[in-house]
Symmetry: C2
Subunit: 143 residues, 2 copies
DNA sequence: TTTAGTGCAAACGGTTTGCACCGCT
DNA sequence: AGCGGTGCAAACCGTTTGCACTAAA
């Protein structure tokens, strides 16, 4: 997923190509880790002026529905957003500095699916997150 | 963990043994699945009158700090609470009716831990949740 | 020109907090 | 008696919404 593809999805679905959307998408496409809504708002505000928080939220919601981005809820009172990559992702979260990083690991196996289906439960999605101490914080603790 | 053990933990840590705490603990000890704060509040209110939401929240927070209960945050704007069992737990959540159920399955393996440690990340806890359709909702769909 | 999108301000909903009173210990 | 706990009401904070104006198609 890149900004061109995202704009195409918007157009195909009859949504307008506004300057605000372009800037929000630009910020999201450049991100190296999942961002909070207010981080996205701040970065968007650096690029333009007068954009409103509700515009950011409304568009995050729209991008979410169109599958352009994913929403991640962790053990916190706010959500994170990241560019959709097709395959599902999992994250590690530092308990000290709060940084969120994507990992390749997925522990969900066919065996477990059949285990659940025995219970009559049909799994659709899953979430896997690991909380711990990142290398940066570990180094700071030693110093 | 049962109500006696919980009261003991409170006493040992110098907290008072109030009637409100007894009722909240009683509700939590009887629960068959994780409850939302407002579910706990409603059940507590049935048992007594005049109890305040802030008392429930303050005590949930306290019980959490003392390890009596666990807090579970899912993809929703509120949290769930369940009695602490020593071993960590995972959950399945129905995407239709929202019911939360505990499962025994844990997909986190030693192999994965060492994988993470290579990155310099020290895992402490993890979260694993499966979203899908429960048997009850599946049956309702067929009818 | 039409209709979706935006900015603004106010509302929302779960949670937290300040304060005076209450009731364990 | 002293101080932790409670009820109350208001604040908090991330998010959502109603409305009139703006701008993309």
């Amino acid at each position: 997923m890149d900004i061109k593809k995202a704009m195409e999805i918007l157009r195909e679905n009859g949504y307008k190509n506004t300057s605000q959307r372009k800037i929000i998408l630009d910020v999201i496409c450049k991100q190296k880790r999942p961002y909070k809504a207010n981080e996205i708002f701040n970065m968007v505000s650096e690029a333009t002026s007068g954009i409103n928080f509700s515009t950011v939220y409304r568009n995050l919601e729209l991008f979410l529905n169109l599958g352009i981005i994913n929403k991640i809820s962790l053990n916190e009172s706010f959500n994170y957003y990241e560019l959709s990559t097709g395959k599902h992702r999992h994250h590690i979260i530092c308990k000290l500095c709060g940084v969120v990083k994507e990992i390749d690991l997925c522990p969900f196996k066919d065996m477990e699916i059949s285990e659940l289906e025995k219970l009559g439960f049909e799994p659709k999605e899953h979430k896997f997150e690991i909380y711990g101490i990142c290398s940066k914080c570990k180094n700071n603790m030693i110093k």
